[in-house]
């Protein structure tokens, strides 16, 4: 079945630094519904995230951003294309969108559980748990069961568990959702801190002002392909306002 494909070649401005993550021609087909209808979610995604980048993955709903992250993490298998990940599993941190964690654990217990999954030595684990609880502002709520956490608190504990292993590559799916302005400032400073420490961050977001503030490079996805990849400066240079730029790219 022929599908209309954009005739314009995607604009790609590659970075010179070594790549932490490189996707080439990534395709993902999913069979849904009773008749196992084939739905192409990713149709040839090309993306390069360099070491030390704070990379923003943008796109309208349904563009395939979350699916891309899932394929990178191995939660889904690619139908075609390659995923080059130079960072081992132990060095990756992930925050899913709309996170849900174990109700019956307290914030502290949950972070400890995450730390155990990385087989961190117990002293390291304990100091990280303490430190992270402080960094995300949840010291007082550390002993409270997660079922009593508000959405914002869940988001924050989610970021904490993504960082418990001091990862060199951090993948965040909509990290700012549900946060009040104070929370957002805290998360932004965390991401800033990661960048300063030379970590690589890749996050999806709809909040373009945050993206403009934090990211070094961005990619815009539409209908399963990347239509624009480059530095934030070039995007702003082209269009002054990131929102206008985004809308232009997405509308073709």
């Amino acid at each position: 079945m022929a599908v209309a494909i954009e005739t314009a070649r995607p604009h790609v401005e590659s970075s010179s630094a070594p790549a932490a993550l490189r996707l080439q021609g990534l395709c993902k087909v999913v069979k849904t519904g009773f008749w196992a209808r084939r739905v192409e979610i990713l149709r040839g995604v090309d993306l390069t995230v360099a070491d030390g980048d704070v990379f923003g993955l943008l796109g309208p709903n349904g563009a395939g951003k979350t699916t891309t992250l899932k394929v990178v993490l191995g939660l889904m298998r690619a139908t075609a294309g390659t995923v080059e990940l130079t960072v081992p599993r132990e060095q990756i941190g992930y925050l899913p969108e709309n996170p849900y964690f174990y109700d019956y654990l307290t914030g502290e217990e949950f972070l400890r559980f995450s730390g155990r999954l990385f087989e961190l030595p117990s002293q390291v684990r304990e100091s990280r748990v303490r430190g992270l609880l402080g960094e995300v502002g949840l010291e007082e709520a550390a002993g409270v069961h997660l079922r009593k956490y508000s959405k914002g608190m869940l988001q924050r504990i989610g970021i904490a568990q993504a960082l418990v292993n001091d990862p060199s590559l951090v993948l965040l799916d909509e990290p700012m959702t549900g946060l009040d302005p104070i929370g957002r400032v805290e998360v932004k400073s965390i991401i800033e801190g990661l960048r300063r420490r030379g970590r690589t961050v890749l996050f999806n977001s709809h909040i373009l002002s945050d993206v403009a503030e934090l990211c070094t490079r961005i990619a815009i996805m539409k209908a399963g392909v990347v239509v624009w990849e480059g530095s934030v400066e070039s995007a702003l240079a082209e269009s002054g306002d990131l929102e206008r730029f985004f809308v232009r790219q997405v509308n073709g």
Partner: protein
């Protein structure tokens, strides 16, 4: 290995706090207490009645826990999307399955032996002398239920929790009738029946081989030597089932 234990401990915490467990155990204890009354109307057979019906209660309620919690173990994590966070970490799919299984086995142990100890004390009180065989019988019931959990977990990776529960119960019943299947292999009318019986006998776990209830109430003589072998067989059976479950689970996408 420690990751398996981490998952197991977490699963234990999760399942033991389940309020349904408390209700089920309460019912079991009520049934055991009720059997005291039954014993009183049995013309001097109080001990035997209590042991028999008490062990039935432990089996039944243990089965309910094994089957209903076992079927939803994996599904719950998928539905609540906690799997995303789990598998982004260096946790293998089989480590996850084995960990969940071990966690539920720990909870099941607490539940089964808890009821068993209660029954032991109750029978001691009524019959005026301790019957340690009761505890062994409960331990062996636990072994049977562990097999049921493994099978239920396997089914839950391929089908819905409800169907997995039902199939788990079916496997338990079939396992209790296993010795009859064996006699069919010898006495079957046609070679086809014999071959089919052999297949069923091999596939279905022989749970009746480790059931010593008849011996506990004095009806049969138990054979301790072969018991050990049969427990080993059931352990190997569990390993095979869990390997299958891991294999299926590895192919899954989230």
């Amino acid at each position: 290995m420690s990751r398996v234990l981490t998952i197991a401990l977490n699963t234990f915490k999760e399942t033991i706090r389940d309020r349904i467990l408390g209700v089920i155990v309460l019912f079991a204890l009520a049934m055991i207490v009720g059997s005291v009354w039954l014993g009183a109307i049995s013309l001097g057979q109080a001990g035997r009645m209590m042991q028999d019906f008490g062990l039935v209660a432990v089996t039944l309620f243990g089965l309910v826990v094994a089957v209903f919690v076992g079927a939803s173990l994996v599904r719950k994590e998928i539905d609540k999307r906690t799997v995303f966070v789990l598998f982004s970490k260096p946790l293998g799919r089989s480590e996850f399955i084995v960990g969940k299984f071990l966690g539920l086995c720990a909870t099941l142990f607490v539940v089964t032996m808890g009821m068993g100890v209660f029954l032991f004390v109750a029978v001691w009180y009524v019959a005026k002398s301790p019957q340690p065989d009761l505890l062994l019988a409960c331990l062996l019931i636990y072994v049977q239920l562990v097999v049921v959990v493994a099978v239920t977990v396997l089914f839950s990776t391929v089908t819905s929790p409800t169907l997995a529960s039902v199939l788990g119960v079916c496997v338990f019943i079939a396992g209790q009738l296993s010795s009859n299947v064996l006699s069919l292999t010898r006495l079957g009318h046609s070679p086809f029946v014999k071959a089919a019986s052999w297949v069923v006998f091999v596939v279905v776990p022989n749970l009746s081989a480790v059931d010593i209830k008849a011996a506990v109430v004095g009806e049969q003589v138990s054979r301790p030597a072969t018991l050990g072998l049969w427990v080993g067989y059931l352990a190997a059976y569990c390993v095979v089932v869990l390997l299958l479950a891991s294999f299926v689970f590895r192919r899954k996408e989230f």
